[in-house]
């Protein structure tokens, strides 16, 4: 078994004729938490969807758990996804099911376990995210942070080898932010899984990840451990880590000269 759970070599992806990702190289070792960072629209969510098999690479190699995602068929993909969990940006909980039913969903769909055992497993998963007491609530009764934690419990229901997180920190208050970040780290370590976090929350993710990839306009512009990233003097990384208004990512959307737009004549 290869040491790398995800291996991406020279990957490119285009939506019809618009190139979104160009020449991406990335690896995630088993047991690691890696972060893919970048500003909105840089292609990081597309990269996550490629890893999850929702999209096919246009060019290059993408291996997940030893399976070539460019060649995989529907049955193979569904087989692989049973070993994969995904946390969506706003949880994507099933709104017509209670918290416990949401967590039990995959167990009921993919296993023939007796109800008592499913109940115990659900309680264990919910306990791991601190929400055992919320098992009977409906998703509409949960706060944003709680919904994210339930979704996290649901994504680890089948003890996956890989969990993908799409913006897990978006829209959370500082307490929920810290809780979610720590849970990602702790669950990765205790369950021996691998985590890929797509985020633009620099401060929170640098606390918990092992390795960071920075994506800008479809290419990886920087990579390294959190310490290396913090010390980086690359202009883009510096702007991103310190949240500066202007830099390689400009404050202004491309526009004609201001004076021309205001129709000012030279005096």
């Amino acid at each position: 078994m290869s040491d790398n759970l995800i291996e991406i070599r020279d990957l490119s992806f285009a939506y019809s004729d618009r190139m979104v990702l160009k020449g991406i190289n990335l690896t995630a070792r088993r047991g690691q938490v890696i972060a893919i960072m970048g500003n909105s629209g840089c292609g990081k969510t597309t990269l996550l969807r490629l890893i999850g098999g929702a999209l096919r690479p246009t060019h290059g190699l993408l291996m997940v758990n030893g399976v070539d995602m460019g060649q995989i068929d529907q049955d193979g993909l569904y087989g692989l996804r049973r070993r994969m969990g995904m946390l969506f940006q706003f949880g994507a909980l099933f709104t017509d099911m209670s918290v416990a039913e949401n967590v039990a969903f995959q167990l009921r769909e993919h296993t023939d376990l007796p109800e008592e055992m499913i109940r115990d497993l659900v309680l264990m998963k919910l306990n791991a995210v601190g929400l055992r007491g919320a098992q009977d609530l409906m998703p509409s009764e949960l706060s944003g942070g709680m919904a994210r934690r339930v979704a996290l419990a649901r994504s680890i229901a089948l003890d996956p080898a890989l969990v993908l997180y799409d913006e897990p920190f978006a829209g959370l208050d500082p307490i929920a932010l810290g809780v979610t970040g720590n849970l990602i780290r702790r669950l990765t370590d205790t369950l021996g899984m691998t985590s890929v976090v797509v985020t633009h929350d620099v401060q929170e993710s640098l606390k918990i990840v092992d390795y960071v990839y920075f994506v800008s306009e479809g290419v990886i512009v920087a990579q390294g451990t959190p310490a290396e990233i913090k010390a980086s003097d690359l202009a883009y990384v510096h702007q991103f880590v310190h949240g500066e208004e202007d830099g390689p990512v400009p404050f202004h959307y491309p526009a004609p000269p201001y004076s021309a737009d205001l129709e000012l004549r030279p005096c």
Partner: protein
């Protein structure tokens, strides 16, 4: 000029493309139906949301339609001195035509729109994508049970609509106006044929149920994942289903009742 022609061409191609996608979606739904029948509780749940929750509107509308039929029918029949045939008029109008058609129109607005909005919102909130990521086929888990739940509900609702309508006609004709009760029921019994009238009515309601549900499911599944997209899809469901019901009704009636 050239742009106009190009625009028409594009619309036609888009329309044909959408028809193809809808047909493929419908066939996939049928193909994945086996799993729904093996887990029948999923279908039962959908019979509840599409059928049981539509009961009030169907029963009340049926009663009023039957009462109006009683009034209007009596007005016309008494001119010819044959008001005893009121039972026949009310029952045949309902069983052959109004029952299946009006119940299906109400079903499209009540249950069809709900199905589209629900699936559209599931898509917009990434629940469908989440299901796919959990290696569960949403067509088998979400679409097929809703399809069969609604298709099973539709003829039952149409039958209840007709039954309530006949009761409404009886209340107005016999209880209120005073048409002879014996003639009302016996003429109805003699005139309504099981195969010609009732069975054909049931066939109509099954066909309408399939049409409305297939349209509602496809519109929901195909809706752009935005508030505006879901709202437009819901409107399209009601409009397209209503037109489909009326169009299909003409075709089916032409085949079924040819005056022989």
């Amino acid at each position: 000029m050239l742009n106009g022609i190009r625009g028409i061409g594009r619309r036609v191609v888009d329309g044909v493309w959408r028809m193809g996608v809808a047909t493929r979606f419908f066939l996939l739904t049928l193909l994945h139906s086996g799993q729904s029948f093996r887990r029948f509780h999923l279908i039962i749940r959908e019979v509840f949301s599409a059928g049981v929750l539509s009961l009030i509107i169907i029963l009340v509308s049926g009663l009023f339609v039957g009462m109006v039929l009683g009034l209007q029918g009596y007005e016309t029949l008494q001119t010819y001195g044959s008001e005893e045939a009121l039972g026949v008029l009310v029952s045949l109008s309902l069983v052959r035509e109004l029952g299946p058609v009006v119940a299906a129109l109400l079903f499209a607005s009540r249950a069809g729109s709900a199905i589209t909005a629900e699936i559209g919102l599931m898509k917009a909130t990434e629940q469908i994508a989440a299901m796919e990521m959990m290696a569960v086929d949403p067509i088998a888990r979400v679409v097929a049970p809703r399809f069969w739940g609604a298709v099973i509900s539709m003829p039952l609702l149409a039958a209840l609509f007709s039954a309530m309508g006949i009761l409404g006609g009886y209340l107005v004709g016999v209880v209120l106006i005073g048409v002879d009760e014996g003639s009302f029921w016996s003429q109805m019994q003699a005139a309504v044929d099981f195969k010609e009238d009732i069975l054909n009515g049931v066939i109509k309601s099954v066909v309408f149920g399939i049409a409305v549900t297939a349209i509602a499911l496809f519109e929901g599944y195909d809706a752009p994942p935005t508030a505006e997209g879901v709202s437009r899809a819901t409107t399209r469901t009601v409009v397209t289903s209503s037109l489909a019901i009326l169009g299909l009704d003409f075709i089916l009636t032409a085949f079924m009742f040819r005056g022989v």
